[in-house]
Symmetry: D2
Amino acid sequence: MFVLVNLKTYPCDPVAVAEAVRDVNETTDARLAVAPQAAHLERVADTGAETWAQHVDPIEHGSNTGHTLAESVANAGAVGTLINHSEQRLKLADIDGSVQAAERAGLETVVCANNPAQIGAAAALGPDAVAVEPPALIGTGTPVSQADPDIVEDAVDAAESVDNDVSVLCGAGISTGDDVVAASDLGSEGVLLASGVAKADDPTAALEDLVDPL
Amino acid sequence: MFVLVNLKTYPCDPVAVAEAVRDVNETTDARLAVAPQAAHLERVADTGAETWAQHVDPIEHGSNTGHTLAESVANAGAVGTLINHSEQRLKLADIDGSVQAAERAGLETVVCANNPAQIGAAAALGPDAVAVEPPALIGTGTPVSQADPDIVEDAVDAAESVDNDVSVLCGAGISTGDDVVAASDLGSEGVLLASGVAKADDPTAALEDLVDPL
Amino acid sequence: MFVLVNLKTYPCDPVAVAEAVRDVNETTDARLAVAPQAAHLERVADTGAETWAQHVDPIEHGSNTGHTLAESVANAGAVGTLINHSEQRLKLADIDGSVQAAERAGLETVVCANNPAQIGAAAALGPDAVAVEPPALIGTGTPVSQADPDIVEDAVDAAESVDNDVSVLCGAGISTGDDVVAASDLGSEGVLLASGVAKADDPTAALEDLVDPL
Amino acid sequence: MFVLVNLKTYPCDPVAVAEAVRDVNETTDARLAVAPQAAHLERVADTGAETWAQHVDPIEHGSNTGHTLAESVANAGAVGTLINHSEQRLKLADIDGSVQAAERAGLETVVCANNPAQIGAAAALGPDAVAVEPPALIGTGTPVSQADPDIVEDAVDAAESVDNDVSVLCGAGISTGDDVVAASDLGSEGVLLASGVAKADDPTAALEDLVDPL
């Protein structure tokens, strides 16, 4: 089970959360990673935690100002990237371009989408994984695996029917180990979560709770 | 074979082109339609030509200013709509929303995309048809069916592997009947074209040439 | 006092509202106009009511699909256009381009913005008028002239200090004649309103109430 | 004279250029700074060179994925930020929001725009400076101060008439000391440049040439 902690632009200490991710990763069969802001990538990667970018742009080296270049985040220590998060929706052509840019830079890719039809579309672009996150549940504390189990199963079916090699993750409202187990039972190979860990007083304890039932 | 003439914002007389589309349509087994600007839909539909919208927004009735509502273009006489044209690229979530809006209003849908991977993605959203248009060839006069035949065949394969019910059109640089025949031979069920007819001195003659070899 | 009724994509009969605008306009010193969707412009203009577009794109005749060309809305009967409405926010460079496109086509321009600083910026682009609409009040029924009178006075000052020739309108929550009078007292030369008229059972009565105290 | 070197996403060594900026800064009355990608900010700031961000988003701490938070770039060592670069055009409301976000985080602000009217608009939002960069000249090697001197003088006038406290910079095609002197003579208090230094074989020599005639 892959557990990716998205730090968004929360006012947390990215290094402290990364250290928790690194430490708890060593105690479990689950695979834990952390996605900080671009400006924090190097410091976070230096902790030894598996580090992901939150976004890469569909660009190459060249005249681009204020963009996120896949090669630069890889060089800063990221090994993967989210693409098309619900807070960073992209044009279809740009999702395609971002997946290609990430692959060019050796980054693993997770393309987010908010329903099974869009998950099928995302899978057709050939990323490593897709993640279904119903927007209405993000940040609610109500886990998708409980509030809308069908959407996870349908997303797994949609991705499978398009490209069997694409893994399916899910997210939105996930904060406990039971949520992660439920997601796994529905066919999800991983979870995206954010506030449950990033805003926790004790990120290590929060992560231990998450992976404990696995 | 479906031939859709996109009038873009060309300085042509939309009613004159629509009358040519209507008249030539009666002389051929091909199906001809015309896509004017939103402000011209009613006048164009009044000619009796099959009328399409160039775009609809992923919205419903409500507080939206400057948007194109599917119900309004249907009410003005459109029977179908382009979505995600290369000159009007949309976010993945909005292509999904626009397809749903169009279907809600009874409009036929053609989702454009610029390569086979994106065509597969577009097909996963369940439109009636997809149209592959390599951006580099648009407006060049070099037909996609000749300059890049593989892209058409690969698009047909990509759409078929995702959803067998989705038709595949192609576009970019198409201006002669031979181009249309070549597109058909590659598995395309229709073509999108624009300047070849919209900018012709004699649209009727241009359309007759297009459908003559079919 | 200029009263511009924005029909948005409300499920109203645009011709019926336009007829009410036309009829009430003849009974008052106020100037009334109506802004329908692009697909309804011709039918609305045919009523004889002063007709505005809700948006024009920063483009010229050419290869643009799904866009709104200033010349086309002028040709359909519009005499003016909103630009940068809060539901259709544009890039700064595109507001500039849309103002220029509108002027090229002989359309009067009202650029919307949501606070005095942005009103000053909008005025610097040389439109005929600017309109301050605090987003938080749009559609609430709480009139800006009552809930946030300072924002109107500050907008008037901001526009004046940049370009004395630019008129200032205001909008958001305006539904009664008292609201219009209050707006006028704050230095506003007009109001934008929408649901108060567009959703009224009797648009003529709603408009009569609006202009009665003027 | 302020000389800001924008590294864009060029394939240069950001630390090497930053060290050149730092070293040459000590030899001149001009003020030199460097704007790397977000992922490189910390390493660049660690050189001691004055470090700028290329962009900040109009956001606060919270649920934003893939965005650039002003506080984070300040924390990484940036002391200022570009906003609305021609390669990162923003909506008017978002330029306003980004200026406010930057000021909240203690960052100096330069808002870019491509003609005098837009420069006046940018100045109305209250940044520390504005920068006029005619898009057609960017990356050409033809300096704006020579190809289009009027645009610089008109931009200075436009900014001054809106807010006398806003400095005016210029950019596009600037690569020699003569270009910088010419810009200064036209009323510009600084220059933006990119490829002339970032792509130079010897950034130190390139910077020395730039500041030599000052």
